[in-house]
């Protein structure tokens, strides 16, 4: 333990005062970047911890990652095959179409849920230890990516089984996926400060997600007329889902401009959300007790 201490010049100095941090945007951004970098190792460790713990105590393990989208799409495959709802999906078989839609949608919902969920789980730690808290968000995002990667296996199987046509557009899929997950994260981050204070947020996300799924062309193709057509244009998630699926199934990308706009907006909101998270955290911890 007895080692020489660093000279005073090396000591980092931290000041805590009620002064609003927004008054020094430069300092704020630097601290944010520093903590994000410092938090990478921690984020990875937390992710590995959560991952190993998540499936070590289950019988069916990773099957739980497939089930929600599988059940949702089976519902619509059943309804369509029995002629209860007639959905024409053109060249792509409906089952594959619905599967692709729900798998992508599940990834989006995971990204929305992740910040509030991981923050709530980390409350005891947040209330007592000072560490780069961005690591918690990052670890949550890694988990979203991981769960999506697992589902990709299912997706590949679906595409091979139903002979979904593939084209060069597939190369654009990672970009489309990034846009989709970025948008989910932006919404999730925006909800995080309120969601940490009030349990109402985490309770309402699944309900709204269900409703929003039907307002988005997830299990049906985007319309061009009527309310559904209006929603396909103005629901910001529509272009993301539609574009991601179009890249998968080798179709022409019809909503590229709205996709670009939503993705850039999501990126900006995510950055703003990270800053807001940083500003809000001391106030949120003050209300956590413990």
């Amino acid at each position: 333990m007895a080692t020489s201490c660093p000279s005073p010049a090396e000591l980092t100095e931290r000041t805590y005062s009620p002064e609003p941090l927004l008054g020094h945007p430069g300092k704020l951004l630097k601290a944010l970047v520093d903590d994000l970098l410092a938090g990478r190792e921690l984020a990875w460790r937390l992710f590995v911890r959560d991952l190993s713990a998540q499936y070590r105590q289950t019988c069916f393990g990773y099957l739980w990652a497939f089930l929600p989208p599988l059940v949702a799409s089976l519902t619509f495959i059943f309804l369509n095959s029995q002629g209860i709802v007639e959905i024409d999906t053109g060249a792509v078989p409906y089952a594959a179409f619905a599967m692709m839609g729900t798998l992508l949608w599940q990834g989006f919902v995971d990204a929305v849920t992740s910040p509030v969920q991981t923050l709530s789980a980390a409350k005891p730690m947040l209330a007592k230890i000072n560490f780069p808290r961005e690591a918690i968000l990052l670890a949550g995002f890694y988990m979203v990516l991981f769960n999506f990667a697992i589902r990709m296996v299912l997706l590949v199987g679906v595409m091979l089984w139903w002979h979904v046509p593939v084209s060069g557009g597939l190369a654009f899929f990672p970009v489309a996926l990034a846009g989709l997950l970025l948008c989910g994260s932006a919404i999730g981050l925006a909800l995080a400060p309120i969601g940490t204070l009030y349990g109402d947020v985490s309770k309402s996300i699944p309900i709204f997600a269900q409703f929003l799924m039907l307002l988005t062309p997830v299990v049906y193709p985007a319309r061009t007329d009527g309310l559904a057509g209006w929603l396909a244009t103005w629901n910001p998630i529509s272009p993301l889902i539609v574009t991601a699926r179009e890249t998968l199934s080798g179709q022409d990308l019809t909503l590229l401009l709205p996709f670009a706009i939503v993705t850039i907006a999501s990126g900006l909101i995510t950055l703003a959300g990270l800053i807001a998270f940083r500003l809000a955290m001391p106030h949120l911890i003050a209300r956590m007790g413990g």
């Binding site: 201490c5 805590y16 005062s17 959560d50 949120l284």
Partner: protein, 432 residues
Amino acid sequence: MLTTITPVEKPLNAPRSASAPARSEEVLVDVRHVSKKFCRDLKRSLWYGMKDVLSEMNPWQKKSAARSAESLPDESDLRAGEFWAVHDVSFQLRRGECLGLIGHNGAGKTTLLKILNGLIKPDSGSVTMRGRIGALIALGAGFNPILSGRENIYINAAILGISKKEIDEQIDSIIDFAEIREFIDAPVQSYSSGMQVRLGFAVATAMKPDVLILDEVLAVGDAAFRAKCFKRIGSIAKDCAIIFVSHDQSQMARICTQAMLMASGRRLYYGTTAEAIDQYNAAQAAKSGTAYTLHTHEAIQSFELLESSPPKTVQAGSPLTLKMKIKSQKHLPVGIAFINFVDLAATTVGQADFSSHLEAIPEGESEISLTIDRVDLAQGIYSLNLAIFAGNKVETLVHGVSCAQVNVAGAPYMWCAYKMPLGAVNVQNAQS
């Protein structure tokens, strides 16, 4: 075994001896007029939290809303239902110094530590911390029960900001310190709570902090491990500034170079450790009788411990006489009768057993007088618990918890509750 640090009793801000290295002059913790408000009502607290978050994000927030470090907030700054959890607290700490925080639960100690640790923002005033901060507050935070001890060491270290390299170098000493070598690859959920705390402590002290925050962490674990922890802290102590919260007054008197007494978030006293402890004990004594609870048999009409308030002051080593008045409807045979002396840490440190002197509580009104020959207890406040059980040793006749308080004065701090009467002491040295 223990590395003893002699408490340095010195007036505040007194210059250190000239021989001290210049490094020890640097102020590592600088707390200036810090205040923090809290709200007891949960719904309101959440709503205020919401408002605070929004105002924090408002870039047009009036600068004046954030108070300057020097202006002191008052009651008008509180919103409905709020109170000052910490109010106008200031202190400075240099390397090698240790500040003890004393106060009741809810006096604001933990809130102050959270502000120092950068977890929450002060509502006014400012805190400057220099160097690496180590906090022994939540030992084993982030432990995942399903993962192995080894995996958890790395996770916990990452949370505490200790790099993988530092842990790689010290992993063996960490495992040895925690005394869990044979279990290190077993899941942490199979560990006893003591083993988890040991592991947590070993990881948390693996770093070399400039400022160390200790909050009641040493109240856990067995005596042998506590001694080991104190040795470790003692070896870090000379190279860092420590803020120490404990209810163990003798540990505090031994380690701390200065102390602060807090009540309702305010600084009541700041200076020498001995004086802070005395003032705290005096304040405790003044509150005597508040926690007095009495349970009696239905045949007992009244019971009274005479002269129980204000607290009796007795010189250590001198006799103490207690008188009680009891009124009973019938003759009640007595099996066990005793008075326990309980110290502020709720440990029973002494007992006056008068079972054999009291065969029964007679019918009607009677007065019992009882003399203890020597009260050989350490200086401090003790509360008395009186218990009289019936002949079958099960039925309660009289059971009074904190029915009186005794202030033992005069003896210096002994780091113990009871002082053994000493016979001859002989030191032999092989070389002479």
